[in-house]
C-alpha cells in the first residue's frame, strides 16, 4: 500500500477555522509498567522510591505552572488541580498499602490504584465528568514515568516549526500548556470531545481543532502536509492538489469573513431596505465596556449588577454602587446604558444575602420580589444609580416584574430615594427612564397596560421561555423541549413587541436569542428596536442584519405565525437562513 496517498479523517470540529501546515507528532511513547514482587524487606525502600517520584512530579508541575503564569486562570486552575492529584494523600496511602501488604513494586501499585479509580468513571454517562478519566490517567502516567526514569514531558518542542500542526493521541492539560508557548497552527487528537481541555484551550487560542479523529496518529508521518478543518471536523493528510486547493479556499474564506466582520464592526446594523436596529452588549463588569465598544456595540443593553453582591459577606454600600456604575458611564459617554437592578435568587448565586432554602427557587423570592422586601439593600443600589446617572445616559431596568402592582411599587421606591437625595442636597440625575424586564408570562399577557407605565421593555427570552414552556433547560431530560421557535413563544413575543410599538416605547431582546444568528430574521420581523447580546456575537449579528431585508423578515415571521408545529417553524427558519447564508460564507 502506498503510504503517501491522501487520507481523510472525520472527527468533531472543536474550534472553528481552517489551517494548512505540517504534522508535528506529539508522542510521549508508551509508558512501561514493570511488574515484580518485592522481597518483604524491600518495601520500605520502595515506599521511599515512590515518594521521591511523587516529589519529582510535584516539582515538574510547579515548574510548568510557573512558566505559564499569565496564561489565564483556566489553565492555572487545571494545573493546580493536577498538582493536587499527584500528591493526593489517600491515593498515596492506597499505593503504599499495596507495596507493603502485597509486595508489589511501586509502578505496579500505582497502575493498579489508578486503574481502580479510573474504573469508577467508566460507567458514567455525564460526558464532562467522563473525560476526567484522562486527568486520572495523566496523573498515574506522570508518577510512573518518574519511577522508571522516562521523560514525563515533551522535551523536543524546540523542533516545532512555524507551520506546525500538532497531532496526538491525546493531549494532557500540561501538554497544551507547554505547546501554547509556541506557535501552533492547529490541534488534532484521536481522543476527546467538545469539552476536553484541548478543545477549550484551542477555542481560547482561536486556532482550529479537530478532536476524535480516530486512526490519525498511526497514519500520520512527521512533516506530512495536513489540512485541518475545524468548521466541519475533517482532517486531510497528504492532500491531493484538489484537496489542498479546496482547503486553501476554505481557509481564505474563513479568514476573510472574520476579518470583514471586524473591519465592518463600525457600520450600523441597517437592513438593505433601511431599517435600523441597535446592537448592544451585555456586561457584568465595568472592565468589559472596552470590549463591547471594540466589537462595535452601540450601547449597553443589559448591565447585570449581581457580580457586586457575590463573593462577600456584607452588602455593597451606596458609595460602592455609585463608584462602580460611574466607571461604566464615563466610558460609555452619551451612549445608552441599561442597568438591571439586583436579580439574585433562583438559580443564581446567593452571596451574602442569606436566602432561605426554597423548594422552587425559580418561582421563589427573587429579583424585584426580594428587593421590595429588603428595602435597604434595594435603596442603596437605587441611590448609587441615581447619583452615578449624572455621568452618563442611564436607564434603570427592573427584573422579574409579574404585574402592575410590582412595577408601581418599585417605581415608588425610586421616587422616594429621589426625594431623599433632593432633600439632602445630594447631586443626582432627574427623569431617568425606568423600564422592566418582561420575563414572566403574566407580565407578557399584561404588556399593553404595562407599556403605558414603563419607559421601555426588555425581553429576557431565557427566563420567559423557561416559565412559558415549563422547561428547566439545565435538566438534561427535558432540555430538548426547550424550543425558542415554539408557536407559543412567537405569539408571546409578538404580543409584547406589538404592545410596546403601540405605546411607542423601546423594546429590546437581551436573552441568548439576541446573539444567535438563527433567530435574527424572526426578531427583525417582530420589529424589536434593540438586540443586546454577549459581546462576541456583536460583529456577526451586525453583519447579518446588513444582509437582510426587513420586508423579507416580516414575511418570514408572518408565515411562521401560521405554523402549528414547532418543527414547521424551525424548518421554515432553517430554509430562510440557508438561502441567505449562501451569500454570507462562513459567518
Amino acid at each position: 500500500m502506498n503510504e503517501s496517498r491522501p487520507q481523510v479523517f472525520r472527527g468533531v470540529g472543536a474550534s472553528p477555522g481552517v489551517a494548512i501546515g505540517r504534522v508535528f507528532l506529539l508522542d510521549r511513547g508508551e509508558v512501561r509498567v514493570p511488574r515484580y514482587h518485592l522481597a518483604p524487606e524491600e518495601a520500605t525502600k520502595e515506599v521511599a522510591r515512590l515518594r521521591a517520584a511523587i516529589d519529582a512530579s510535584v516539582a515538574q508541575l510547579d515548574a510548568i505552572r510557573a512558566r505559564c503564569m499569565g496564561d489565564g486562570l483556566e489553565h492555572q486552575n487545571i494545573l493546580e488541580a493536577h498538582t493536587m492529584m499527584v500528591q493526593d494523600r489517600s491515593m498515596r496511602e492506597e499505593i503504599e498499602g499495596l507495596i507493603q501488604n502485597e509486595n508489589l513494586n511501586a509502578e505496579w501499585a500505582v497502575n493498579r490504584v489508578i486503574g481502580r479509580i479510573r474504573g469508577l468513571f467508566d460507567q458514567l454517562t455525564d460526558a464532562y465528568l467522563k473525560e476526567r478519566r484522562g486527568d486520572i490517567d495523566f496523573t498515574g502516567e506522570r508518577i510512573i514515568r518518574n519511577l522508571v526514569g522516562q521523560h514525563a514531558d515533551i522535551s523536543d518542542m524546540a523542533a516545532l516549526g512555524d507551520d506546525a500542526i500538532v497531532v496526538a493521541r491525546d493531549l494532557s492539560p500540561v501538554d497544551t500548556a507547554l505547546l501554547t508557548r509556541h506557535t501552533v497552527l492547529a490541534f488534532v487528537t484521536e481522543m476527546g470531545g467538545k469539552t476536553s481541555h484541548t478543545s477549550i484551550i484551542a477555542r481560547s487560542l482561536e486556532v482550529p481543532a479537530v478532536v476524535g479523529a480516530k486512526g490519525i496518529f498511526d497514519a500520520a508521518g512527521s512533516q506530512d502536509v495536513i489540512v485541518v478543518d475545524g468548521l466541519d471536523g475533517t482532517v486531510m493528510l497528504r492532500p491531493s492538489r484538489t484537496q489542498l486547493e479546496r482547503g486553501r479556499r476554505r481557509a481564505q474564506n474563513y479568514q476573510r469573513s472574520t476579518l470583514e466582520l471586524l473591519q465592518a464592526k463600525g457600520l450600523p446594523a441597517r437592513t438593505k431596505d433601511d431599517r435600523y436596529v441597535q446592537v448592544a452588549g451585555n456586561i457584568e463588569l465595568p472592565s468589559e465596556v472596552p470590549s463591547v465598544l471594540g466589537r462595535g456595540g452601540e450601547a449597553i443593553g443589559l448591565y447585570r449588577t449581581e457580580y457586586m453582591f457575590l463573593g462577600r459577606r456584607d452588602v455593597p454600600t451606596e458609595q460602592e454602587h455609585y463608584e462602580t456604575y460611574r466607571q461604566v458611564f464615563e466610558h460609555m459617554g452619551a451612549r445608552s446604558v441599561t442597568v438591571r437592578t439586583l436579580d439574585l435568587g433562583g438559580d443564581k448565586l446567593m452571596g451574602p444575602l442569606h436566602f432561605d432554602t426554597e423548594a422552587n427557587p425559580a418561582l421563589g423570592l427573587r429579583a424585584i420580589r426580594y428587593c421590595l422586601e429588603h428595602r435597604t439593600i434595594f435603596e442603596a443600589q437605587i441611590a448609587g444609580l441615581l447619583r452615578a446617572g449624572l455621568h452618563g445616559n442611564l436607564r434603570i431596568m427592573l427584573p422579574m416584574i409579574s404585574g402592575m402592582e410590582e412595577f408601581l411599587a418599585a417605581k415608588e421606591v425610586i421616587a422616594d430615594v429621589q426625594n431623599r437625595l433632593t432633600e439632602a442636597g445630594v447631586p443626582h440625575r432627574q427623569n431617568i427612564p425606568v423600564g422592566m424586564m418582561i420575563e414572566v408570562p403574566s407580565a407578557a399577557l399584561c404588556a399593553k397596560a404595562l407599556a403605558v407605565e414603563a419607559d421601555f421593555f426588555s425581553i429576557g427570552t431565557n427566563d420567559l421561555m423557561q416559565y412559558l414552556l415549563a422547561i428547566d433547560r439545565t435538566n438534561e431530560r427535558v432540555a430538548h423541549l426547550y424550543r425558542p421557535l415554539h408557536p407559543a413563544v412567537l405569539r408571546v413575543l409578538k404580543l409584547i413587541v406589538d404592545a410596546a410599538k403601540e405605546a411607542n416605547i423601546d423594546v429590546s431582546i437581551c436573552g441568548e436569542m439576541a446573539g444567535d444568528i438563527d433567530f435574527t430574521p424572526i426578531l427583525l420581523g417582530l420589529g424589536v428596536s434593540v438586540l443586546s447580546m454577549n459581546m462576541g456575537s456583536i460583529p456577526k449579528i451586525k453583519r447579518l442584519v446588513r444582509e437582510l431585508h426587513q420586508s423579507e423578515c416580516e414575511a418570514l415571521l408572518a408565515a411562521a405565525m401560521e405554523c402549528v408545529h414547532v418543527r414547521e417553524t424551525e424548518a421554515m427558519v432553517r430554509h430562510f437562513m440557508l438561502k441567505h447564508l449562501l451569500t454570507l460564507g462562513a459567518l
Binding site: N77, E80, M85, S90, L120, F121, D126, L129, R132, L349
Partner: protein, 92 residues
C-alpha cells in the same frame, strides 16, 4: 470539644464536581481540623483528598451527605455546604 455535624447537599453547578470544583472543595476542607467525608449512596469519600472526591463522580443534580467529626465540625459543614450550594462561587 469534639462534635459531629451532617448535612445533605445538592450539587447544582452545571459541570458537577469537576476538576476545579473538586480542587476548591479539597482546599477549603483541608483548612479544617475535623475529619470530613462526603457520602453518595454507599460510596464514601474523604473530602480532603481530590482523588477521593473526584471518584464520587458527582454530576449536576447529585445529592451528597456531608459529615464532619472534630472540634470545628459544625463550622466545616456550614462552610462547605455554602460553597457547594453556591455552585463553587470562586469557580466561574
Amino acid at each position: 470539644m469534639k462534635s459531629t455535624a451532617t448535612q445533605k447537599v445538592l450539587i447544582n453547578n452545571d459541570l458537577g464536581l469537576h476538576l476545579r470544583a473538586a480542587g476548591i472543595l479539597v482546599q477549603v476542607a483541608t483548612d479544617f481540623q475535623s475529619e470530613i467525608t462526603l457520602r453518595r449512596g454507599p460510596t464514601e469519600a474523604n473530602a480532603k483528598s481530590i482523588m477521593s472526591v473526584l471518584s464520587l463522580a458527582a454530576g449536576k443534580g447529585t445529592e451528597l451527605t456531608l459529615a464532619a467529626e472534630g472540634e470545628d465540625a459544625v463550622r466545616a459543614v456550614e462552610t462547605l455546604t455554602k460553597l457547594i450550594e453556591g455552585g463553587f462561587a470562586h469557580s466561574p
